[in-house]
Symmetry: C2
Subunit: 198 residues, 2 copies
């Protein structure tokens, strides 16, 4: 098994390509750090990750080992084949300048996942408006009895990981998230490994 390891610095983004069958391991280096992941069909960028199709086909908001992340065109983009944490989110869109203004009173430019994903993917010609709601690895969002939602500190510890297997050839964008509440107000690197299963 060959591996390629990349360290994504705090509050930044990265893009990579996966061939169908290749695996992507995402590691929480220091704990309590969220990684926003988006995916595009490498042959047709209008096919993207869809939380709505995924919730429908998997019949749960709690996605973990054995669950598949589906595209807007109903194809399997990524299957979760290992997950040492079990708590992730697919409800909330990537943090953006308006998130920072609205929740953190940050009026000026500041790092945010939407723009970090856009910058990382811009070389492919992907537009800002094409960035979908991300699968937010290690993000901890509760839903209460009256359907209210709350962002809680991640439960992920140092060394926690998720492994995804690509269901098609993909362009993947991934961040070390920049939003305070999502990361318990401390920011660390996310490690990713691309694994070629021999």
């Amino acid at each position: 098994m060959e591996e390629k390891m990349i360290l994504i610095p705090p509050k930044s983004g990265y893009s990579l390509e996966l061939q169908r069958g290749q695996c992507l391991k995402v590691l929480c280096t220091e704990g309590s750090q969220v990684a926003d992941l988006v995916a595009f069909n490498r042959q047709d960028f209008t096919e993207v990750l869809s939380n709505g199709k995924t919730f429908d086909y998997e019949q749960t908001l709690r996605l973990t080992t054995g669950n598949r992340l589906h595209s807007n065109l109903s194809n399997c983009m990524l299957e979760i084949i290992a997950d040492s944490c079990g708590i992730h989110d697919f409800l909330l869109a990537p943090c953006c300048p308006e998130t920072m203004r609205r929740f953190y009173n940050m009026e000026g430019p500041s790092p945010n996942c939407r723009d970090n994903l856009y910058d990382a993917l811009a070389g492919y010609g992907i537009e800002r408006g094409q960035i979908p709601t991300a699968f937010n690895i290690f993000m901890n969002v509760s839903v209460d009895e009256s359907m209210g939602i709350e962002v809680l500190p991640p439960v992920a510890k140092s060394g926690d990981y998720v492994v995804f297997r690509a269901g098609m050839d993909l362009i993947v964008g991934i961040t070390a998230c920049s939003a305070g509440a999502s990361n318990n107000y401390s920011f660390s690197a996310i490690e990713v490994q691309i694994q070629d299963i021999a």
Copy 2:
């Protein structure tokens, strides 16, 4: 107040334009009927309704009077200004041929909201892959303690309605939904009224 009324037949779709400030009233004619609604910025079709941004800013999955439906670019597209029902869904993507195959063993062509929205919007040059997760008016989806989700019969009765006010100039796609479980296995028309508040 001027009104324009349109009846959307069972298992079909329709598109309309709203100017900022205009209101759209959506009525359940016979009860138990879901209407999938999508919206695009009339000046820039890459700006679309976003469940992820809406959940984030409204901090609830239970959207009703006073809540706003936001775009992927964080602008208010529609505000709910009246709602006689209170139970709607923004988790699940429009039903599509794969929905019909997977949940209803329907292998051949059959009406579905994704293609009805696409057909209704095709005149604007909107692609199939651009249809976002819809705001599913009158759709009743439960979330249990372990985050499992289930499609339940709508609680909407004949005459129940929701009124939206447009926050920008919009292209709106809307259906009378075609999926069995979502509509308690009976299908009826959806009435829409465009209201010009004088």
